[in-house]
């Protein structure tokens, strides 16, 4: 009885609190803030972080339109209009960088994007759940290795002297192939290592989408005489489509971002011709050679293209599939 009385008191208190809040809302902003000061205090460091590390650099991007001088800062540096953009777009390297970025991105979309979808479907068809769990545990693991480690593993697999793959090739009577020291194999190695690292982990999102499909849909399809292939076509694919479309849109929106760490780590002077992309070039001439303004122009150029692509892809997708990000 006592407990119940207590509970009643608490409930009463809550009602009071609730009605108080209603009056609070009518108070002035200032009084509300004073009353709830702890909530605002908590937000102060968060606010400061976003201002200093997100907004300040955004504002600082104006150096793309300046002849930026470190000692004068972006407030005093000279304005040069679109000089850096013009210079960059007319440079002979521009075409090469743009092409490399697009090609690698295209390979990622065509080869690396569908891989986890296929793997998720295959895993979903497995009936023995112990086997399925084992496969999952194994294929998720590479995601947790850094690119530096993946490079190390690739080196140990592919080096001409001690690499496992070249060892096998030589034992079969072939010639060792300099996978890591050639322009020819650069894109293959980058894309393959990307698939190796992320394919398993990326299945998670598709497996979640698959588990969200109602079993009754499969039952209904079976009653209608659909075999497993037909069920896959008419139930599984439509069930996964929203997740696929959203991830594809995000991927298209970031066509210009092919993964700095991944490319940078595999890149060497021999593979610049086919492997250097906008991001790695920006690092090389920006940070290493100190061409701050020119590099920021490249960065802005990249962001604008990415944004336009995202909006365009979203529009197209809404028209075609009815799915979209916004």
């Amino acid at each position: 009885m006592e407990i119940q009385a207590d509970r009643a008191k608490v409930l009463e208190g809550m009602k009071l609190q609730g009605s108080k809040q209603k009056t609070v809302l009518k108070e002035s902003m200032w009084r509300y803030m004073i009353k709830n000061w702890p909530l605002y205090i908590m937000l102060v460091p968060v606010f400061m972080y976003f201002i200093v590390f997100k907004y300040l650099p955004l504002v600082g991007s104006v150096i793309a339109f300046q002849d930026y001088n470190i000692f004068r800062g972006f407030l005093d540096s000279e304005w040069v209009g679109l000089q850096w953009f013009e210079q960059f777009l007319t440079r002979p390297q521009f075409f090469r960088l743009f092409k490399n970025t697009l090609i690698i991105s295209l390979y990622q979309i065509v080869l690396a994007f569908p891989a986890p979808i296929i793997l998720a479907v295959l895993m979903n068809e497995v009936r023995k759940s112990a086997f399925k769990r084992t496969v999952q545990t194994i294929v998720y693991l590479p995601h947790f290795l850094s690119w530096a480690l993946v490079y190390g593993l690739a080196y140990m697999m592919l080096s001409t002297q001690t690499g496992l793959v070249n060892g096998v090739i030589e034992r079969l009577g072939g010639e060792a192939i300099p996978f890591l020291q050639s322009a020819e194999y650069f894109r293959t190695v980058v894309i393959a290592s990307g698939i190796w690292k992320e394919m398993g982990w990326s299945t998670i999102i598709f497996l979640a989408a698959l588990s969200g499909i109602s079993p009754s849909l499969y039952e209904a399809a079976k009653i209608d005489g659909a075999n497993r292939w037909k069920q896959f076509l008419h139930v599984t694919i439509p069930g996964m489509l929203p997740a696929i479309v959203i991830l594809l849109l995000l991927k298209i929106g970031s066509v210009m971002d092919v993964g700095f760490e991944q490319i940078y780590i595999f890149l060497n002077p021999i593979s610049y011709e086919v492997g250097e992309v906008l991001d790695t070039y920006a690092y090389r001439i920006g940070i290493q050679n100190g061409q701050f303004s020119a590099t920021t122009a490249i960065g802005l150029f990249k962001s604008v293209i990415g944004f336009v692509l995202l909006v365009g892809a979203n529009k197209l997708s809404k028209k075609v599939t009815g799915e979209g990000l916004f």
Partner: protein, 293 residues
């Protein structure tokens, strides 16, 4: 289920299992090869006799690596960054998410817009670099921690989870005279363990594997992280001066590849040991946000 399988379906099942086994093997081979190599003698490695099993087993490679000064420096730097960085990440994420999970917070929509905007429009590399430089963070551990002190995406995940805590609990706590900070500590955090553990792991692995930030901000060899150390070891062939000196003194024939393999194995061990325990949390976290990456 008691459905009888047609021969076509049975063939598919067998093929499927074979295919998945093959994919799993491909996922494991590079790791097994490096583990095998790290335990093999340099002679076996140089003659390319090591495949997936140690040949002429030895611990010598590890012994030389752990004698290397820079290896330990890099380990210590990485451990510091992971520990301090993750704590800061978690405090800021919780502090940012809790007030914003309250629908009655004045200015809530504006603050959310302020944060989401940064997810859509990101500044180019150089302006960020200049901010870090002008704050005097270059070549300090803090350059690896402060510029990534909070992730807007993780904060959104956390905020959504906090919203599921019933408002009545907070009201009752307030009736008992608890302040907001105590509510966070004694009610919100214990009730949100699943999401907090997930975020903790995401942040910690992110710090552990980070390569780009040290590449940009750290030039002092004494401050390099484990990932930088490994990359410089393999790509630039900087097989360690210290190790080389120690080994040649002891009259040991050195093979860079053997040391690299041993270093890779040592650097991967913490993750592989923790991995089985963390796996379920990670998976929960990856699906929590419905769309990752």
């Amino acid at each position: 289920m008691n459905i009888r399988l047609t021969s076509g379906e049975r063939a598919f099942d067998i093929l499927n299992i074979l295919l998945l086994t093959l994919i799993s093997v491909i996922a494991m081979v590079p790791i097994m090869h490096v583990v095998a190599g790290s335990f093999s003698s340099p002679q076996a490695i140089i003659h390319n006799r090591v495949s997936l099993w140690p040949v002429e087993p030895t611990l010598e490679n590890f012994r030389i690596v752990v004698q290397t000064d820079y290896f330990w420096k890099a380990c210590w730097m990485t451990v510091k960054v992971v520990a301090i960085g993750t704590v800061i990440n978690m405090v800021l994420t919780v502090f940012g998410s809790y007030p914003l999970s309250k629908m009655h917070l004045r200015g809530r929509r504006l603050i959310l817009l302020f944060i989401v905007f940064t997810m859509v429009f990101q500044a180019p590399l150089i302006p960020i670099y200049l901010v870090v430089k002008n704050l005097g963070l270059l070549n300090s551990m803090w350059s690896l921690i402060i510029p990534s002190a909070i992730s807007a995406f993780n904060m959104m995940l956390c905020l959504t989870f906090f919203r599921s805590v019933p408002e009545e609990l907070f009201d009752a706590a307030k009736v008992d005279g608890m302040g907001e900070f105590r509510i966070v500590w004694q009610i919100v955090i214990p009730l949100s363990k699943p999401i907090l553990v997930t975020l903790l792991l995401f942040y910690a692995v992110g710090h552990w594997n980070n390569y780009m930030a040290p590449l940009l901000y750290i030039t002092d060899k004494n401050l390099q992280t484990l990932q930088m150390y490994i990359y410089s070891l393999i790509a630039m062939g900087n097989s360690n001066d210290m190790a080389v000196a120690a080994a040649s003194e002891a009259g040991i024939k050195l093979l860079p590849e053997a040391l690299e393999m041993a270093t890779i194995v040592l650097a991967t061990t913490p993750i592989v040991i923790l991995y089985p325990f963390l796996q379920k949390h990670f998976i929960k976290g990856a699906t929590l946000g419905s769309v990752k990456e």
